[in-house]
């Protein structure tokens, strides 16, 4: 029993501290307004307050803290991407994740479980080898594994040669892992609020006031707030908000669904992904199996879930782990993903001078939360785009300099 819990047992009065900004009116002016109180928004606020001395910040969230994709993703943390730009970026993010609990004094439950992606075709093996080679070259732990190694890593996997999709090998990303997604947002928000950042929940931005190509204020359901500059970090509704700023983003928006079973005693350590049947799985520290897959087939701004996706995820996961057919599903849900043509984010400057973009996070936003907050805060504080995110600027689409991660994202969020 850790000592930290003793005070809860021995105090007469519950020793609670309010972690976030208590309900209060909005100020008239903030130096920085961050639109979107998800992981990215509060992380940006935190790094601004902690490392750049900027604390007159409002984070405006239309719902509740971390209630969008931060709370809906399946908490897969990995850096086994394909491009040099992508691998370097996510590598830094994983590195930051490892230290977050101690930085916040709040357990985000990072666990280095490793992620295994399965191949059933020689084409898949070729693409995995590409990722493994690039990863290794850049210091990210990935390697190709054969069926024997897979059997040792995930003994319960169906490796029969007579199945519909005999597995021939895989990509073992031993640096990969997971963390409690909500806790990441809470930890950042708590640490930011402790430093004077204001988090305003149930505060929806309804318009942007832009004059002379500069943002002056944001209109909310609770009144107008002036700002020195603004950052948008709203994931699924990125294209709509950017539209308010007159910016057209090359984004298509698709729902992405997932589902979870009842808790069972732990039987599955690594995260397992199977692009050939569009499914991936992990067992949480509560014992639930969390199962996700590919995006919905057509664009929609809606978080309704569908029977069809549940059916396809179910049959796919049962191909991999026949026993799981007997596990019982508890919930299915959806998030809205803002997909870019090259499966990389859009970060950095926008056509509006003091309006910064953090968008295009598709299905890869959660894993980038720390590095995104860190680099965006540097951009906001200094006005200079950090090298790490230079490749992800919106202007890359005008310069034909996309950072294509198409081969490294399918059903392995």
């Amino acid at each position: 029993m850790p000592f930290a819990l003793l005070k809860y047992g021995f105090s007469k009065k519950y020793p609670a501290r309010h972690s976030f900004t208590p309900r209060k009116d909005l100020n008239q002016h903030y130096d920085v307004v961050i639109i979107g109180g998800g992981g990215h928004g509060v992380a940006t606020a935190y790094y601004l307050a902690r490392y750049h001395g900027i604390t007159n910040i409002a984070v405006l969230e239309k719902g509740y803290l971390g209630g969008g994709n931060t709370g809906r993703n399946t908490a897969v943390l990995r850096a086994n991407y394909l491009t040099e730009e992508g691998v370097k970026f996510y590598r830094e993010s994983l590195q930051l994740y490892r230290g977050l609990s101690n930085e916040f004094d709040f357990n985000i439950m990072w666990e280095n479980r490793g992620q295994l992606t399965l191949a059933t075709t020689d084409a898949a093996m070729r693409s995995f080898r590409w990722r493994a080679e690039v990863n290794k070259h850049l210091g990210v732990g990935s390697e190709l594994v054969d069926c024997q190694q897979i059997k040792e890593l995930v003994p319960l996997l169906n490796l029969s040669e007579n199945g519909r999709y005999p597995i021939i090998g895989g990509l073992w990303h031993y640096d990969g892992g997971t963390a409690r997604h909500d806790a990441v947002a809470w930890g950042y928000a708590k640490a930011a609020c402790e430093r004077g950042v204001e988090l305003h929940q149930l505060t929806e931005v309804t318009g942007l006031k832009i004059t002379n190509n500069r943002i002056k204020a944001v209109q909310t359901n609770r009144g107008i707030v002036e700002c020195g500059c603004a950052v948008q970090a709203v994931a699924g509704t990125s294209s709509l908000l950017a539209g308010m700023a007159g910016i057209k983003l090359p984004i298509h928006t698709y729902p992405l669904q997932a589902m979870v079973t009842q808790p069972y005693k732990p039987v599955l350590g690594p995260l397992v992904s199977a692009p050939h049947v569009h499914v991936y799985i992990q067992q949480t520290s509560r014992g639930e199996f969390v199962i996700g897959g590919g995006s919905d087939p057509y664009p929609l701004y809606s978080t309704r879930s569908t029977l069809e996706m549940k059916e396809s995820l179910s049959s796919a996961i049962q191909e991999l782990f026949p026993f799981i057919g007997n596990a019982r599903l508890l919930r299915q849900w959806a998030g809205i993903t803002d997909m870019t043509p090259d499966y990389s984010p859009i970060m950095g400057l926008s056509p509006v001078d003091n309006y910064y973009l953090d968008a295009g996070w598709g299905t890869w936003g959660f894993k980038a939360t720390p590095i995104c907050g860190k680099t965006m805060s540097e951009l906001v504080a200094t006005g200079k785009v950090p090298d790490l995110i230079k490749p992800f600027g919106l202007d890359r689409f005008y310069r034909f300099e996309q950072v294509n991660e198409a081969g490294a994202t399918a059903a392995s969020h």
Binding site: G63, T120, P263, Y264, V267, R328
Partner: protein
């Protein structure tokens, strides 16, 4: 033996006393009747402890008796997390409790409960991370092991599950009084009705609850209604069938047995009733403490006496119906603890009081007291209520072995909320109300806030009539029924205790303080409370906790219950097996019509999308030898390869040429009939996405091939652009209608000539890139002269059902020339020797035509094709990389593998896309992306090969073989 607690008839609607069943629980033998559930059969034998709780390993037993809680979750024949209160016993069933270390009765982990005050809400966020890494190395494994309920059987293979579609005019969910009334109304009007009920017997509360002083009233009512319905036409009744979700446009999954029915209903009436709610007080989870309706279910459905001496905690008059039921079956009523100050009693309550039962008005059960082994209720302490949720300083102890809670209800709103309904809440009724339903979805009965039986019946009829009107029936729709009865929900049946253990959420062992403290820590939104405390995340998904949570959060944050709300109700309603959703699965695979010939010839088959293709012919360990022999046979003799998986698209119409001009990079309008042209498709970004050939058989008819993996996309894009451009053209996907072979090698003409009567194969009459129609071995065929593998060769395409015949005929005709089949791997080697790229392997998601030597295939004079503008723009920028050929001269070096990196110093500059040892060239050859500087023929580049070994490769001009194209032009 039936058990000491077994009651006489007429109790026991669901059991068959003529059949006894033997089963085991925790290794001990028990006997029950057919129709008993695990829990009812054990309760008949006075065995109440069924399982252990999630966090504190507290003893748990019957709570709802309706499959709505996790307290009865047991492992049945190895299947974990089975709801013991609804799972039927069967001969030889082996049942175990769950979540204990040691034995169910002596769980060593039950000690954890003693430390609960050191485990505040979200305790795992507050610590366990020091020093760095402690969580994953030390604590996570411990907590993971303690958490989780049952042990899933990893050896199990799910049984056969399948699916069926159903359609109806009107689907009614719930066969209680409202549902029966609605079904009868709709059936009488002639609509096709589907009535679905999760229970074994229709009737809902009529089966177990008491609606009048006379105990027979409900039974008689039920009998009449069920009889009337079974006489009706057009009604299909599904019992033991659960409608587990609502999806857009009344798309409803119904699970019954091992089948998932997918129902499309034009209209739906939800008659899903209400869920009785527990009171919150110290030790409210002890076995022996249960809902009033649970006791009634035990009595009426299973003929089991729920205890010997009972206290009823009443916040409404339904508690008195429970008391009367208990008295009728010989249970002594020690007291009725009446939460209300000034109750308005109905006839049943008056009847109970008339029997001399002691009623404590304005009192609460302050705490439940356990037997010394902590496994069962022994007594309750009753205290006066002195304020909302507050009790007096002292109370009275009443011994009892049963406490029935009847303090209120919550509508079974889950399906309605999945359909977008909103929940309201009025403090004076203390119950959620449902509004904002889609037009084709109706609700009726108690889920709609009706409490009086007659009003429930009328509400069912009203809803059915409203639905029928929308279905087009000329039918009168009466005004909406207005509830005339006092709400049976008591507003604040929540009482804190200094020692805690007042459980709000039984699934997750969350106490009153956990919910309140979550808000104190800043998690004020009910969604945040859920995520932080995990309330409502367990197997019962908040069914028994959402109302109390909403009340507590509202109180703690100074908002109304309606503002606070509940966390989102997501499908499924009840836990469902993954196997139900998986069904039989559908992962089709495709075989070409020559598939069996490859297998017979000993081919190693490889997967390519849904297709199986021969990789090479011979034992799996002898790939290199087989490829060498097959390739040399093509170079020197003649070989045959199955190309049936290539995509085939017929493009016809006056605008066919113009259409191809816009779809592909090259020019097609002036392409002569009888000739083929290479086609390259780019997307809007100018990236190469597919290739093939376009064969012109007529002015208005092209036969276009696409890659095996790319044809679906090409077809989709063609349809999309065709619709947008509105050209007079017609596209048909004929991949599956045709099959084909490529006969290649210097002797291919000679062999093929023996089979062709009406096609002149001479070089003059049928040149390279020519196409012809004619007969091969008597089969109508399309012939194309191609050069993919770099030799004289013909593709022969025939209707797919001729596949084997064509294959056999060519093999027979070529026997004298020692023709042999070659596989895909060999074909890849041969085309590599010839320097031809494979889209997808030698290109990636960023590849522009000029990077892969396809600049020649771009027609610059035509006004437009998809990607033209991007290619023009890219053309203005300096090129960054190029696909170049290389050879490895050092025969001792490890042969580079596809995707190995090309380096310039430490910098990654490209990668190998194709690489084989070429028997023809006598060394490893390959293609790799690299910088333009590296790509100069004659220069050396470094490849980081297997194990990090650096291999030096020499860049060479392409192709590796026959640069003058003499062989294919023979």
């Amino acid at each position: 033996m039936a058990g000491a607690n077994r009651l006489a008839e007429p109790h026991g609607l669901l059991i068959d006393r003529s059949r006894t069943i033997d089963f085991e629980f925790e290794g001990e033998a028990y006997q029950g009747f057919a129709g008993d559930t695990v829990a009812s059969a054990l309760a008949a034998h006075d065995a109440w402890l069924l399982s252990r709780s999630f966090k504190y390993h507290r003893p748990r037993g019957i709570f709802t008796m309706a499959g709505q809680d996790s307290n009865c979750m047991v492992t049945v024949n190895g299947d974990a997390n089975v709801l013991g209160d609804v799972e039927k016993i069967s001969p030889g069933l082996r049942v175990f409790g769950q979540n204990y270390k040691g034995s169910l009765r002596k769980d060593r982990r039950a000690r954890i409960g003693r430390f609960s005050r050191f485990l505040p809400v979200g305790f795992y966020y507050k610590t366990f991370f020091k020093p760095k890494g402690a969580w994953e190395k030390r604590w996570a494994p411990i907590i993971r092991n303690i958490a989780g309920l049952g042990q899933i059987d990893t050896e199990a293979v799910p049984a056969y599950y399948d699916k069926q579609y159903k359609f109806c005019d009107l689907m009614i969910v719930g066969g209680g009084p409202a549902g029966l009334s609605a079904a009868k109304t709709a059936a009488d009007a002639g609509a096709e009705v589907l009535l679905v009920d999760e229970n074994e017997a229709l009737g809902g509360a009529l089966n177990y609850a008491r609606f009048a002083v006379s105990s027979d009233a409900a039974r008689d009512q039920r009998g009449e209604m069920v009889a009337a319905l079974s006489a009706a036409q057009h009604v299909e009744v599904m019992t033991d069938a659960i409608c587990n979700g609502w999806f857009s446009d009344n798309w409803l999954p119904v699970i019954k047995g091992r089948r998932l029915y997918k129902v499309r209903a034009r209209e739906v009436v939800l008659c899903t009733g209400v869920l009785e709610q527990p009171a919150v007080f110290h030790n409210n989870d002890l076995p022996g403490v249960m809902l009033g309706s649970a006791a009634q279910r035990l009595i009426r459905l299973y003929a089991v006496r729920p205890g010997k001496r009972a206290v009823v905690l009443a916040g409404n008059n339904d508690g008195y119906a429970v008391a009367l039921d208990l008295m009728d079956c010989g249970v002594e009523i020690a007291a009725v603890v009446e939460l209300r100050d000034e109750p308005v009693y109905d006839d049943i309550a008056k009847a109970v009081r008339a029997k001399g039962v002691k009623v404590y008005e304005g009192h609460a059960v302050y705490r439940a007291i356990s037997t010394s082994d902590k496994h069962h209720l022994k007594a309750v302490e009753i205290r006066q209520i002195v304020g909302q949720g507050q009790c007096g300083q002292s109370g009275e102890r009443v011994s009892c072995d049963l406490l029935c809670m009847s303090v209120g209800y919550t509508p079974t709103y889950q399906l309605a909320c999945q359909a977008g309904a909103k929940l309201g809440y009025e403090d004076n009724t203390a119950v959620f109300s449902i509004s904002g339903l889609p037009e084709s979805l109706h609700i009726a009965g108690s889920v709609n806030g009706m409490w009086d039986l007659q009003e429930v019946l009328r509400d069912g009829e009203q809803a059915a009539r409203a639905a029928l009107r929308r279905l087009g029936y000329e039918i009168k729709v009466p005004p909406k029924v207005v509830n005339s009865t006092v709400s049976p929900s008591f507003g604040w049946p929540i009482f804190s205790h200094p020692a805690g253990k007042e459980f709000v959420d039984y699934d997750e062992d969350l106490q009153l303080a956990d919910i309140v403290n979550a808000t104190r820590e800043g998690y004020e939104d009910v969604q945040l409370v859920k995520r932080y405390s995990t309330v409502g995340m367990g197997p019962s998904q908040g069914r028994n906790s959402a109302l109390a949570t909403a009340r507590l959060v509202a109180w703690a944050t100074g908002r109304s219950v309606a503002q606070t709300g509940v966390s989102t109700a997501r499908p499924p309603f009840a836990p469902e097996r993954i196997a139900h959703n998986a069904g039989r699965s559908f992962y089709p695979e495709r075989h070409t019509s020559m598939h069996h010939r490859h297998v017979e010839a000993g081919a190693q088959m490889l997967m390519a999308g849904a297709w199986w293709r021969p990789a090479y012919y011979g034992p799996s360990g002898e790939r290199d030898r087989c490829m060498r022999e097959e390739s040399l046979n093509v170079r020197n003799n003649v070989g045959l390869v199955d190309v049936s998986t290539l995509g085939g698209l017929e493009v016809r119409g006056p605008d066919a040429g113009e259409f191809l001009n816009r779809m592909f990079t090259y020019a097609f309008t002036k392409q002569p009939v009888g000739r083929s042209r290479y086609v390259v498709m780019t997307n809007e970004h100018g990236v190469v996405i597919d290739d093939g050939v376009a064969c012109r058989f007529h002015d208005e008819h092209y036969y276009v091939t696409a890659t095996t993996g790319g044809v679906e996309r090409v077809y989709q894009l063609m349809l999309r652009w065709k619709a947008q451009w509105r050209l007079e053209v017609d596209v048909t996907h004929v991949t599956a209608a045709w099959c084909g072979v490529n006969i290649a090698g210097p002797k291919s003409r000679q062999v093929l000539a023996t089979l062709c009567e009406d096609v002149d194969l001479s070089a003059e009459a049928f040149p390279y890139m020519g196409v012809r129609e004619g007969k091969v071995a008597g089969i109508p065929a399309r012939l194309m002269r191609v050069g993919f593998v770099g030799e004289l060769g013909y593709e022969v395409h025939v209707p797919q059902h001729y596949g084997e015949r064509l294959w056999d005929a060519i093999m027979e005709a070529g026997a004298a020339e020692e023709i042999r089949p070659f596989g895909i791997e060999t074909q890849r080697l041969l085309r590599l020797e010839k320097g031809h790229i494979i889209i997808g392997q030698d290109t990636d998601a960023m590849t522009h035509p000029a990077e892969v030597h396809l600049a020649w295939a771009i027609a610059r004079k035509k006004p437009f094709f998809v990607g033209a503008r991007s290619i023009a723009e890219i053309g203005k920028q300096p090129r960054k990389r190029k696909l170049a050929g290389f050879v490895v001269n050092d025969l001792d070096a490890p042969i580079p593998l596809e995707s190995h990196l090309v380096l310039d110093g430490d910098k990654m500059t490209g990668r190998v896309t194709s690489c084989y040892f070429s028997p023809t060239v006598g060394k490893p050859i390959g293609l790799a992306f690299m910088t333009l500087e590296q790509a100069i023929p004659g220069s050396s580049v470094t490849i980081k090969s297997t194990g990090g070994v650096f291999v030096t490769a020499k860049v060479v001009e392409l192709p590796f073989y026959d640069p003058e194209n003499q062989r294919q032009d023979l």
